[in-house]
């Protein structure tokens, strides 16, 4: 997944596409924000799990980048809440898990079933991340 994505020049992102980047490591968030903004996205960064979930549930985002280790709520809890129709009646955003943490096999299977994408942050530079996001329909 990580480095298999070659930059595709023909794909230009929709100008109004909104990204919610849920990431508590400020330096990483800063790099992603910069790179994605340069690529033409409208980026919101949030580091608190609860606030991020509330923001995601407004359904104003096209893409959610979700770190699995965030304060107040784990990424997996956020993922489940977003996929639970009782808690999140509608969600058009694609959810991409961004993590450096290796999961146990069963957890990974669970994540794979619920998320739209999964990437290891260390395997991608911010540029490569933007290229990857560009390929999301």
């Amino acid at each position: 997944m990580e480095s298999d994505q070659t930059p595709d020049q023909t794909l230009t992102p929709h100008p109004t596409r909104k990204i919610l980047c849920i990431e508590d490591e400020h330096f990483i968030a800063e790099l992603y924000d910069r790179s994605l903004t340069k690529a033409g996205y409208d980026v919101d960064v949030m580091s608190d799990g609860l606030k991020a979930l509330a923001a995601a549930q407004t359904d104003t985002y096209d893409i959610i980048l979700l770190d699995l280790m965030v304060p107040n709520m784990t990424g997996i809890e956020i993922l489940r809440a977003l996929r639970d129709p009782n808690q999140t009646p509608s969600l058009r955003a694609k959810i991409i898990i961004t993590t450096n943490l290796e999961q146990r096999e069963d957890v990974r299977t669970d994540i794979e079933a619920q998320a739209d994408g999964y990437l290891v942050k260390a395997e991608m530079t911010p540029h490569e991340l933007a290229d990857f996001v560009n390929t999301i329909e």
Partner: protein, 513 residues
Amino acid sequence: MDHVQQVRKQIANYLFAVLLIENFIVIGAMWYAQNYLAISPFIVLGAGLAVALISSLLLASTASKLTMQPLKAIWQIILHIAPEGNTPMAPPDTAKLKIGRELVTNLTGQIYQLASVAERVAASTKIENADLSHSFVANNLPLPLIVMDSSETIKFANQAVAEYIGIAASELIGKNVYMALDMSFPNDDTFDTWLKDAKQNNATSIHSWERVRLNVRDNHPTRLFDLAGYYNKDNSDQMETIMVLFDHTKQYSQDDQAISFIALSVHELRTPLTLLRGYIEVFEDELAGKVDPQLFDFMQKMSATAQQLTSFVNNILNVARIDDDQLELQLHEEDWYSILTSAVENLSLRAKVRGITLETTIAPNLPAVGVDRLSIHEVLNNLIDNAIKYSGTSPIIKIDAHTTTEGLVETTIEDFGLGIATNVLPNLFTKFYRDHRNRAQIGGTGLGLYLAKTMVSAHGGNLWVRSKEDSGSTFGFTLLPYSQLSEEAKKNGDNGIVRGAHGWIKNHSMYRR
């Protein structure tokens, strides 16, 4: 032996006495007839001969009867104890025996003793065969014990099973063992394959497994144990196969925790690496064309190094997974061209900063391969990285992909650098092995080739090496076309193909992921 001697003497004495008396009578009669009755000597002789003949016949009959007495008594005893196939007999009255009374009495005692031992054995097997649920030992055995019939249906599970896996014996009994117990084995030596083989080829078979994992549903903790199986064709149909579980959950899950420690360390290493790579990229973006070319070159080297460190972190993680049987591959249909070119592209920076060009030749129309993308990427990463490290001053690495005559997809990575001495070739794929000669000059851990070999094998392929000192090395590996693997998938009634690098392989074909 004394008794036998005694019998022999008794018979000899008896026969001697009888013969003596008989001879005395005959000779006496003949003498009397000749001297006092004045009968012709011819008639006397004839009559004497006749009497001798008759008495000899009588003697033979009596003697044989007498000598057979002990034998007959023993025969009676045996029939009395074990009348199988014969009508039962009353025990003999040894007091009436004229010959061999001691011998018979003694033998009788021994036969009775043997018989009682045999009876005890028979009685105990009878209990086991009858119904294990009434067996005190089976029920109270502190080890989980499961008994299956010839169709692998559970016929008995003791109390320890219920406690161990949290499913009552009554729920297990009558179920197919593979449906009731979701067991995973560290490699393809599974209970299922053993039992199939035993049924086909053996009358009886015993086998054991280590690190078996039982995935228990409904929040009951996963169990890790060693397993012993016993199969005997001659057992009654109801209990053809027996399995006993030896719990090691605590010990084996401590190993799992060691994995979590590694996973945590990997996380801690990856976060700064992500940042390093990110900020280096910002510099590259912003400063390209604006700085001294040498500074830009340094920047690229920094970037390549950070990338290399990221790969190494992955190696640590993967070796830990392999060692702990936790690497699971998901083989999917993939285009080898795109995987190979993306891996090469990924490594081109590392090659470039060392002045090396990666030259790739990919044959057209390669069949789709069945691979786990992430794992096969690690294989390519390690092999190409190795070639870069050991290229010396040689400026080229050739990467070639083609189809073999057997229809496999083969990829070779050829460098023209240091090469490997023949005597170290056999150890090359051993974990932590490094060529002593190069240890000082070239960094590395000796994990890369071990990983590559293990992962290629887990894909069903083969990794080989050909090398000549001072002229370079070629590493090659084969992969199965997806069409071949999908045959396997169809056979298993499964969509994805799950393989271990001795990773977890689900026990039975009925298992679906």
